[in-house]
Amino acid sequence: MSQPTAAQPEGKKARPIVPFLRLGDNGDKPHLVAKRCGNCGAVYLGRRVACSKCSATGPFNEIRLSDKGSLWVYSIVYQSAPGIPTPYVAAIVDLPEGASVRCTLIDVEPNPEKLPFGMPVEMVTKKVREDKDGNDVIAFFFRPAK
């Protein structure tokens, strides 16, 4: 887990919005991690009891996912739950390790003409809110690769 930064009050931490986001310790960059089935190679985000592709119960090896991938498909959401700003690009991004990630695409016009299939994208992180204890909640997003 990441350490408190100077900008935060004492005792407050930055915490990832999901367990498969690592914020990066010791100067490392934030990145996603996955579990890879040692039997068939299927890749999963999050915890695993067994492999839903081949049913093997392990071993599952944690792998670091690339922060660059490509846009598989998307939708542009104009009507959402109350309090959620719209529009946003709800995307499915494929990563080279075989993982598929549900994410929001940012820094791009919400317009199908600006969202070519296969577009190279890269991951960024930012604070999205504070939790009830005052910790920063950090989420990952993807944006067109620079």
Binding site: I17, V18, A42, Y44, L45, S52, K53, W72, V73, Y74, S75, I76, V77, Y78, Q79, S80, A81, P82, G83, I84, P85, T86, Y88, A90, A91, I92, D94, G98, S100, V101, R102, C103, T104, P112, F117, V128, R129, K132, A139, F140, F141
Partner: protein
């Protein structure tokens, strides 16, 4: 398994009934089915009740508390949007097994103006941060995937909405019975690209019921027998992106393959289909998934009217979920109602001429798929 027949069906008009309890809506549908079958609740030996939003509230028992507490076994079923059709399947197996001679399935739901399903708001929500779990977005992405694979255009999806709304003008039980022009569908408020407002099913309240029985009971009570040719239920097998972009196609294809084998018919034998058009994008995918056209051919089929009333395979002549409505737990039984009504030649102005074989297909996201093939 012995032969199972549909003896009675009933359905209330889908819409909004804020003044009523869900057990009243379901009870009314059950009474309609009993009347249709020429039976009373005392003839029913088992009840399967499908309801999703009150899945923990013993809706089946509450139905009988409204219409007759006979003490029969009740199964309360919840299976996402396939709730009603799974309840029908339970009734089918109850009779098919030989354990019961007459069973009833009731599907019901009271949604009110529930708003969008699938993604919550609130402080801990990840909606809009980690993409979207909202149904319009998920099915939007599924449609965009077809665009990616085959160059399908937004207009093709929009034309499906036009078709189903047009069909619904001839169904007095449809929640909406108004035509919409292609231009209006295209220009309507975007909910989640490429689905505009008219390309999304409404929320609403409704109930439908179906009574199934053995051959011996059928012969005693009916001169218009409808046989259940097959009852198939599948779940989502592992596919590469299923856990991030639910794959509604593979489990439908698996179900269709089994259904055609079990019923001994093929796609060309199907005279009408009620399929799960929760969004216009979904309907287009299922033309291919169910084998009514080749892969990549659905857009052409839409352009050429293959799936309209009078076309080669009429799809959702009831108005479909898009216009008839989609009270979640009621939908699967309402599809059975529609198919049975055509197979008996009782569908009035929307009757598919000489219908002998019909299909009812439902997808519950998460995912569950049912297919029933019924024959006259």
């Amino acid at each position: 398994m012995r032969g199972v027949y549909v003896l009675g069906v009933g359905m209330i008009k889908f819409g909004r009934y804020p003044e009523k309890d869900v057990s009243e809506l379901a009870g009314e549908a059950a009474l309609l089915a009993l009347k249709d079958a020429g039976m009373t609740i005392k003839d029913i030996q088992l009840l399967a009740s499908g309801n999703l939003l009150q899945a923990n509230a013993m809706v089946g028992q509450r139905i009988l508390q409204q219409i007759g507490q006979t003490g029969i076994p009740i199964i309360n079923v919840s299976n996402a949007c396939a709730t009603g059709s799974t309840a029908f399947r339970e009734a089918y197996f109850a009779v098919g097994s030989g354990e019961y001679d007459v069973a009833m399935a009731v599907g019901s739901e009271q949604m009110g103006k529930a708003g969008l399903l699938g993604g919550g708001g609130g402080r801990e929500s990840v909606e809009g941060i980690l993409g979207s779990g909202l149904m319009p977005a998920v099915f939007g992405q599924a449609g965009v995937e077809h665009m990616r694979q085959y160059g399908t255009k937004m207009e093709h999806f929009a034309k499906i909405s036009v078709k189903n709304h047009k069909h619904s003008t001839k169904n007095p039980l449809s929640q909406y019975q108004t035509e919409v022009a292609l231009e209006d569908v295209m220009k309507a408020r975007m909910v989640a690209y490429p689905n505009t407002l008219y390309m999304c099913c409404p929320t609403g309240d409704g109930a439908a019921a179906a009574i199934v029985c053995s051959e011996a009971v059928m012969k005693k009570h009916s001169n218009k027998p409808v046989k259940v040719g097959c009852s198939v239920l599948t779940s989502d097998p592992w596919t590469p992106r299923d856990l991030t972009l639910p794959d509604v196609s593979t489990l439908t294809r698996n179900a269709a393959k089994i259904a055609y084998e079990k019923a001994g018919v093929g796609p060309d034998d199907i005279d009408l289909v009620e399929l799960h058009d929760c969004f216009a994008t979904a309907e287009l995918l299922h033309y291919e998934n169910l084998g009514f056209c080749k892969d990549g051919e659905a857009a052409r089929g839409v352009d050429e009217g293959w799936f309209e009333w009078g076309g080669k395979t009429p799809v959702n002549v009831s108005g479909g979920l898009l216009s008839k409505g989609h009270p979640l737990g009621a939908t699967g039984v309402a599809n059975i109602y529609e198919v049975v009504t055509h197979l008996r030649g009782q569908a009035g102005a929307r009757q598919v001429e000489n219908a002998k074989v019909g299909m009812a297909h439902v997808i519950g996201l998460g995912s569950a798929c049912t297919i029933h093939i019924l024959t006259a």
